[in-house]
């Protein structure tokens, strides 16, 4: 076989339309809730309607007799069974607590589970919940973090003796010495409000004894099928080699599906125990209280500088709301931003402290950006405050302090080494697209005219760390797993290719992007590659998708696996063409003899030869495949400059986003169309934090924003089109030069918006606005400033 294939153009860098789309667009989908197996029992959860109470008595007798009901369980049926677990005990003295699969004696947040019904039909399971009678003795709810830490506060976990979960301090340099040199010290308290991740697909689980031997399959709407399988085995005692986890089509995650949940644990245990399929589909209202929330920090930030604007040091004191229990990385989430508080700037010292606090609220955990949006918000907001204090142009203050492009690699004050970056280039491009000078002129004119609608310009020059993570680094941080990623590439006898990845996409387009990488590395047509993921049966090794790691780590594994495959095929090609491997050239899928290109074979031809195995060189095994499990050598650091033009009606407090420019640098782009889509989606979520969203609780711990009617997810009418562009500074820690882009938009945009809002009304004495910048919050900030000093 010496047929040649047409020279394919490089696939990397092309805005390839997505392989995923035709199926999704025609409704040929495989959401977990689509799965209907014969004999399925539908699971429904009775959830506590009060935040904190003793359970005195549960009467399930009427429910047990109801139509269609097969079983009703309470906590007594699962003594000691955990419903979730925390894999990141951040300090040696952290207060860990038990998270029951079903509560036995006490409920600790509104939404905690007190009973479980299994019935033959979805509607009948829901009906039966109304027949369960629970006697509660209400306990005082712990809602406010500062109150929770006071002596004599009611306790979320009585046995812990405290609501303080942990305090983590990381002093870098000598902050007090840096402060002593300062001419100016600015301190502010920022509130990073609680958010509800809200993927459009809520959670769903189907567990069924199915397949070979004792295997039980769990389909679940998750970002982490591989990690979940390990944790389910550890938590249930069911042997890991009997559990298969499948993440079919997953309708968004944003960190909300980076979790092990009691619903998954119970579905697995009950399907195993009863020998029949068990299914649960979460309602949206359930999702609002029962899927973990994000953010929720009080940030006390202090920055010290010379009168010329040179930064000296920064002090960060955080209170981070854990909610009622610790789940997968609850305590670690705020610490993911710990190394990034200095942002893109040079300074001598950073003193970071974070205290995690238990409250009677839904558990918090990762939400798009996880820790880095909070750190970026703090540094970018305080830079504007410092600029105002110094009377400097905020962009000039940034330029004075950022790491110049010739200074890379640069080790920041917290010890992270930023491999590459070019803040000057990204900023220049952003200023140009924005029309910065014209908008500043308009701002001045409106101010001079006393226009009731004022204009503000918000800046965010940010970087973030992504590509979780070098396994050693994770180990040093007490995280109990690694950060590697796996890929297997197989060229099948017919020339078609299977790419098995350990990443678990849920909207990111891995099938397309991974095909682009492999097409170039092994020289096969993009169309011939099938990407296999999200199933521990078919893709057994992986660390899944979160923290903008899929391309940053998983992409490396594809490249290395492809290179290994190419080298194996080279040896076979050399043998068949009767030359030595050094005399073989590989170009776009064709192996040819150097100086004699007529003598050649294609990679597909070699795959067939490796399958028949009639004529392989000695010591070479049949089949053509390459495998790699890659541990990244370091993080990568996307960066960018975002600018927002904000109009604020000073009479009503109404805020309008007039123009948004985002120039990002994520290194080499494999597929610029998908990069841009990721930026858009991130922007929408970051802007939503700044302008629309916020989970609110009353003093009794009731979630007031418990449905989509009350929790304001932005619609198309609430957002503008965005102006986006990229600069390209290749990463040197990644063999393809790429960085991550999944979270950048969400990380950068929140401070850009709030800086813009404050900039519009700073002349009225305002120096902060609570998020979301709703008309009410903005109007109040203006009133407070007018009635005596800044808010």
């Amino acid at each position: 076989m010496t047929d040649t294939i047409e020279e394919a153009p490089a696939s990397i860098g092309q805005p390839k339309r997505r392989k995923e789309d035709a199926r999704l667009l025609m409704g040929e989908t495989e959401w977990t809730d689509n799965i209907q197996l014969p004999g399925t029992l539908h699971m429904a959860f009775l959830r506590s309607s009060i935040a904190h109470a003793k359970i005195l008595r549960i009467d399930t007798s009427a429910a047990k007799l109801a139509e269609g009901v097969v079983h009703v369980y309470t906590g007594e049926d699962f003594p000691g069974q955990p419903g979730s677990t925390c894999v990141w005990p951040v300090t040696a003295d952290i207060v860990m607590t038990h998270y029951p699969a079903i509560c036995t004696d006490e409920v600790r947040y509104g939404g905690d589970v007190v009973a479980v019904v299994l019935a033959t039909e979805r509607y009948l399971a829901a009906d039966a919940l109304d027949l369960i009678d629970v006697d509660y003795e209400p306990l005082p709810a712990v809602v406010d973090m500062e109150e929770a830490l006071k002596e004599g506060s009611p306790l979320v976990h009585e046995s812990a003796g405290t609501n303080r979960c942990y305090t983590h301090n990381m002093p870098c340099g000598d902050y007090e010495a840096a402060k002593a040199k300062a001419d100016v010290v600015v301190s502010r308290r920022f509130i990073n409000q609680r958010l509800i991740p809200s993927p459009m697909e809520t959670r769903a689980v189907v567990a069924a004894p199915q397949g070979m031997a004792d295997e039980i399959t769990l389909w679940t709407s998750t970002q982490i099928p591989h990690v979940l399988r390990v944790l389910l085995a550890l938590l249930t005692g069911i042997p890991e080699n009997q559990i298969r986890v499948v993440a079919p089509d997953v309708g968004g995650g944003f960190g909300g599906k980076l979790q092990i949940s009691r619903e998954e644990v119970l579905a697995l245990i009950l399907a195993k125990r009863l020998g029949r399929p068990v299914k649960w589909s979460e309602t949206r209202s359930e999702n609002m209280v029962a899927m973990h929330h994000g953010r929720d920090q009080i940030q006390d930030i202090e920055i010290a500088a010379t009168k010329d604007g040179k930064l000296l040091g920064m002090k960060v004191d955080l209170l981070a709301d854990m909610g009622a229990y610790l789940q997968i990385i609850t305590p670690g989430t705020p610490l993911l931003g710990m190394f990034m508080y200095s942002g893109i700037y040079k300074m001598e010292a950073l003193d970071f402290t974070c205290t995690g606090v238990y409250t009677n609220k839904t558990t918090t955990d990762a939400y798009r950006g996880a820790g880095r949006p909070e750190s970026t918000f703090a540094i970018e907001r305080i830079m504007d405050e410092l600029a105002a204090e110094l009377g400097m142009e905020p962009m000039e203050l940034r330029k004075l302090n950022w790491v110049k492009h010739e200074e890379f690699p640069f080790t920041n004050v917290a010890g992270l080494t930023y491999d590459t970056g070019n803040y000057e280039a990204a900023t220049e491009r952003a200023l140009e697209l924005f029309g910065y000078d014209e908008l500043r002129a308009e701002q001045a004119a409106r101010r001079a005219a006393g226009d009731p609608v004022q204009l503000g310009i918000g800046i965010s020059t940010f970087t973030e760390m992504c590509g979780l993570a070098p396994s050693r680094t994770l180990g040093a941080l007490n995280y109990v797993a690694g950060g590697w990623e796996h890929c297997t590439l197989r060229v099948l006898p017919t020339g078609k290719v299977e790419l098995v990845t350990g990443t678990a996409p849920h909207g990111q387009g891995h099938a397309t992007v991974w095909s682009q990488i492999a097409a170039d590395v092994i020289g096969v047509p993009f169309e011939d590659i099938e990407v296999i993921y999200g199933d521990t049966g078919r893709a057994p090794y992986g660390m899944d998708t979160y923290g903008s790691r899929s391309l940053a780590v998983g992409g490396q594994a594809i490249k290395v696996a492809g290179e290994r495959l190419v080298e194996k095929a080279r040896i076979i090609a050399a043998h068949q063409l009767e030359v030595s491997p050094e005399d073989i050239e590989f170009n776009k899928g064709v192996y040819s003899v150097k100086g004699d290109p007529e003598k050649s074979n294609t990679i597909q031809g070699i795959a067939f030869a490796a399958f028949t195995a009639h004529n392989l060189p000695p010591g070479v095994e049949p089949t053509l495949h390459g495998e790699a499990t890659v541990d990244p050598i370091d993080f990568s650091y996307p960066h960018g400059t975002h600018l927002a033009a904000m109009e604020v009606d000073t009479e009503t407090g109404k805020v309008t986003l007039r123009k948004y420019v985002a120039v990002d640098d994520c290194g080499i782009q494999i597929n610029p169309m998908i990069v841009e889509g990721q930026v858009h989606g991130g922007l929408a979520q970051g802007i939503a934090q700044a302008m629309y969203e916020g989970a609110l609780y009353d003093n009794d711990g009731n979630l007031l924003t418990a449905s989509m009617g009350e929790y304001l997810l932005p619609s198309s009418a609430d957002l503008p089109s965005f102006i986006t562009d990229r600069t390209v500074t290749p990463s040197t820690t990644h063999p393809l030069g790429t960085k991550g882009i999944g979270e950048a938009g969400a990380i950068a945009s929140t401070p850009a918006i709030i800086n813009g809002v404050v900039d519009a009304i700073r002349h009225l004495g305002v120096n902060d606005v609570l998020m979301p910048a709703s008309p009410q919050n903005v109007w109040r900030a203006i009133q407070a400033a007018q009635n005596g000093g800044a808010a």
């Binding site: 979805r122 993927p199 989509m708």
Partner: protein, 157 residues
Amino acid sequence: MMHISATVNGTHRMGEVEPRLLLVHWLRENLGLVGTPIGCDTSNCGACTVLLDGQSVKSCNMLAVQADGSNITTIQGLGPEGEMGTIQKAFKECHGLQCGYCTPGMVTAAADLLAENPDPTEEEIREGLHGNLCRCTGYHNIVKSVQLAAAEMRGAK
């Protein structure tokens, strides 16, 4: 139990249903048309949007029996058999979807919008689709998709 019969994606379907059964559950669970997903329980998200006698409706916000005698088109019947229609192709071309969960509702709502207004402005598109939430795309490319579909459909006439 009550009798329902309707034309769904061009095929006559009927059955006995509980009076309280939601239309979306009839489509998904009784007829197996799982292309139409559910995103909420307060009729806010639009994921479940289908065309009922040509008008877009939220199928979670209706009882199955209320659809008796009607003509229903779901995402699975929107394009020509086994192919994508103009709007679907435009969504692919403009990267108007990521996870795809909002997509059936979004495409269906866009079909209704374009039937009423073949040449909408960006603002009309944004207003017209405001009942359909998407958490992935930030709407930017959805708007572009609808603009492209509109242009293609006008061109085709």
